[in-house]
């Protein structure tokens, strides 16, 4: 039932609104609204019950194991939420003077410093509001750098074909053309193709490392030399930063600019699709172009650096200070981890992934890159199963929902047929991983014994498989009252 179907004319949550309608007779009728907007008319309890029930129709980290590759669905500590929502933080207006926000600004400054250390970059701006915006800021800085040197011929961004879709989409938004290069059999960047692709037209290379294929680019030092020798810059897509957090710094690999997804690596909530935060880190040569605002410490006081302070800045990503509340959550998480805890993140994420890989391999699953060490994630390919039974990776993923597990990432990366990209994260216990392996084995047996049953999954969710074609062809995006 929709909230609108709970609605009755003249019912209202009286305690939640001003007691009276104030006089607005100074406003001319020509500017006023004549119709009533379609908002629910419901009691407080109607609303609370409706949305509580809706919440119960979701899978979430708090209720289920979520081995969603490339998304780093680690536990979101509760203190990060409650402390970021202290009244002093929530009440402060973004335009309030810096003097009234020293507690918040100190936290942001310290977060910048910690992120600089852990990534090995010279500067960090917290401004971008999501990974894709961080990418945009990063590529815009690459462009600003070349433009400032009068190097206008550099108009091409190189992207491995295994990259996230945001990489090519971002390059285009920055006015670049995109050249995709292939991946070799071991899941690594094809070095010959890279060598052939670079030249005086190369603005930069966007790379995820470990790659989206779940393996580390062993040739990273050579890759960075090829790109830098050609005059291009190196962009690090931080989607998989959890795989190296505390272990390897992107700055040490030679990257000039990176974005981080704090909603992955720093455990801020995914919130059913955001808000995230996508800070950018830069090498010294890109410091003049950082997006504003950046927090500075001067004579013991904190303030925001804006356009006048960083005159060559690529500009503003948001009207205010990015997703400030998300940044606060990441700060609190980082302080609870501490240096020692941060060193351990990649280690235990990698331990969990390699253990799960080993157990699934023993259970008869095909691994996409069996000769490679898994990073914090790895790929199972169900091509053989599909050929033999008709059960696809999608069917398999849907059946996992029946066993109480969120599906791994399916059909990404597109290079591997019938793939499941599995990322357990460091916060899951051995028992959880073992139980997941049992469910995977059970479904594998089901796929051979009763393939049609698996193809019809899920059976235990609020709905069965949905008609996506109908959804796209007969667009129904807003509810219309019956009369």
């Amino acid at each position: 039932m929709l909230i609108f179907e709970h609605s009755r004319p003249h019912r209202a949550a009286h305690a939640q609104m001003p007691a009276h309608t104030a006089d607005i007779s100074d406003l001319p009728a020509s500017l006023l609204r004549q119709d009533e907007p379609l908002l629910p008319q419901a009691s407080e309890m109607d609303v609370v019950r409706h949305y509580t029930r809706l919440s119960q129709k979701n899978f979430s980290i708090d209720t289920q194991f979520y081995p969603l590759g490339s998304c780093t669905m680690k536990y979101n500590p509760r203190a990060c939420n409650s402390l970021a929502m202290l009244p002093g933080f929530l009440a402060r207006h973004p335009f309030a003077p810096a003097a009234t926000g020293q507690g918040f600004l100190a936290s942001m400054y310290e977060l910048q410093e910690m992120l600089k250390d852990v990534t090995g970059m010279a500067g960090v701006s917290l401004a971008p509001m999501a990974g894709a915006q961080g990418e945009f800021a990063g590529v815009a800085m690459i462009r600003a750098y070349h433009d400032a040197r009068g190097d206008h011929a550099r108009r091409e961004i190189i992207v491995p074909n295994a990259a996230h879709g945001t990489n090519p989409a971002t390059a285009v938004m920055c006015g670049y053309t995109v050249r995709e290069i292939p991946t070799d059999k071991e899941g690594a960047v094809d070095m010959e193709a890279l060598q052939a692709a670079v030249g005086p037209h190369t603005a930069g290379l966007m790379l995820t490392n470990p790659s989206t294929l779940g393996v580390f680019e062993k040739n990273i030092q050579q890759i960075q030399k090829i790109v830098h020798d050609a005059g291009g810059l190196l962009y690090y897509d931080g989607a998989n930063l959890n795989a190296i957090l505390g272990r390897v710094k992107p700055g040490d690999m030679g990257f000039d600019v990176i974005h981080m997804n704090l909603h992955k690596t720093f455990s801020t909530p995914h919130g059913g699709g955001g808000p995230g935060a996508g800070p950018v880190g830069v090498a010294a040569r890109l410091l003049p172009y950082m997006p504003v605002p950046v927090v500075a410490r001067e004579n013991g006081l904190y303030r925001l650096l804006v356009e006048g302070d960083i005159p060559a800045t690529i500009g503003r990503m948001s009207a205010n200070h990015g997703n400030a509340g998300v940044l606060l959550r990441a700060y609190i998480y980082a302080r609870m981890l501490g240096a020692e805890g941060m060193h351990r993140v990649a280690e235990f994420a990698t331990l969990n992934a390699n253990y799960l890989l080993a157990e699934l391999q023993k259970a008869g699953f095909d691994i996409a890159f069996p000769t490679r060490r898994a990073s914090h994630e790895f790929i199972v390919t169900l091509k053989k199963l599909k050929d033999e039974t008709g059960v696809s990776a999608m069917d398999f993923a849907k059946r996992l929902l029946d066993y109480g597990y969120h599906a791994p990432t399916t059909y990404f990366p597109m290079l591997v047929p019938e793939c499941l990209l599995i990322e357990p994260t460091e916060t899951e216990s051995k028992e959880t991983l073992d139980a997941f392996v049992t469910a995977m084995k059970t479904i594998l047996a089901e796929a051979y014994a009763t393939p049609d049953m698996v193809k019809g999954a899920p059976y235990t969710q609020p709905v069965r498989r949905l008609d996506d074609v109908k959804a796209a062809r007969e667009l129904d995006l807003v509810w219309q009252p019956a009369d």
């Binding site: 379609l38 918040f104 990273i220 955001g274 805890g341 280690e347 667009l475």
Partner: protein, 449 residues
Amino acid sequence: MPFIPHTDADVTQMLAAIGAPSIDALFDEIPAALRSGKLTQVPEAMTEMEIDRLMQERAELDGRQLNFIGAGAYEHHIPAAVWQITTRGEFYSAYTPYQAEASQGTLQLIYEYQTMMASLTGMDVSNASLYDGGSALAEAVLMAVRAHKGAMRVLMPKTVSPLYRAVVRSMVKNQHIELVELDYDRVSGTTPVPTADMGDFAALVIPQPNFFGALEDVDALTDWAHAHGGRVIALTNPTSLALLKAPGQWGAQGADIVVGDGQPLGAPLANGGPYYGFMTCKQALVRQMPGRIVGRTVDLDGKQGFTLTLQAREQHIRRSKATSNICTNQGLVVTASTIYMSLLGPQGLKRVAAASHANTRSLLAQLCAIPGVKQAFSGHCFHEAVLQLDRPVAPVLAALQAQGILGGHDLGADYPELGNALLICATETKTAADLQRYAQQLSLALNNK
């Protein structure tokens, strides 16, 4: 280790299963030279009790001031139920609803949100949200240019928030799009209908209320833009739409795209975020819209269900040909907003808007009675207005701040032509005593100089 559940026995068993001698061995494919040294800028771990103490102290430091700043972020009462339900783990810690069967809660909520926003703005369809008002305006500019397939110019009044204009500039500057600034009338603080030939343009942006709180002649501006072959991008404050004419009803044909910041609908001020950007549009433009969209459909048994749709527009499918690179949006804040709108309903939202407007008007009357203070513009305003002082604004604001009052937003840096101009706002959260206190303190601040 914090948030890592492994016992030593677990680690031993897991390494044995892998066939690796140590955790270090799992990193044997990474060149040894790349191993990082000890982190020096990350302090030692704090327990929850210790970080609790630190953050309490910092939040206390930021304290509570009596706030009269608006300028794009508004302090409204947020019912207790809004964030209590929003931060339930099932909403808070869920992923983007790609697995529709396991995400019906989030998906249905977004469908309800889309319905509310489309109705509030008088448009046919809505997306699931963008990052904030500024980036939503930038996406609307890109969308209008895509849809026009010719003109690369967009008319941007100076009465649009200077920060929004800055965001738009940084997001479109590499795509050969020209932003043509339209000046405002110094008497009314609104944008005159252009009389000169403006050439080809993809869209005209119309802010309502505008950054000064002034009400633009939206009907005339909309009709003018359409008559000259451009589309209309409405930039609105969603609270105002409970009272003001919906953009879908502007002029003869209505606006084409509506954007704004959803913050006033249930998001706290919170140092500037997270907020969210909303975007609604006419049906004809739906395939040009950026961001996620939820549709209602049926499952294998014919039962109603909800799913992400029109994904062929998006980066994970279209890659370099996508309508935008946006991926993550502001889902959790949209969750709060949907609950907020459901609790307030049409009547409640109207009362919030009316009370905010009436409070601002009352504050204006009291402040303008003080010698040396006058209203900058002559026309109608909505829940925000510009004052002109007889002396520089900064020291006056500092004197007010010393009394625990944030007196408004100084317009000097962005609008030097307005002289000593101060943008003020009083929402429904301010009592008569609050307004009086501001007036008394301003009077004192001006007399002491």
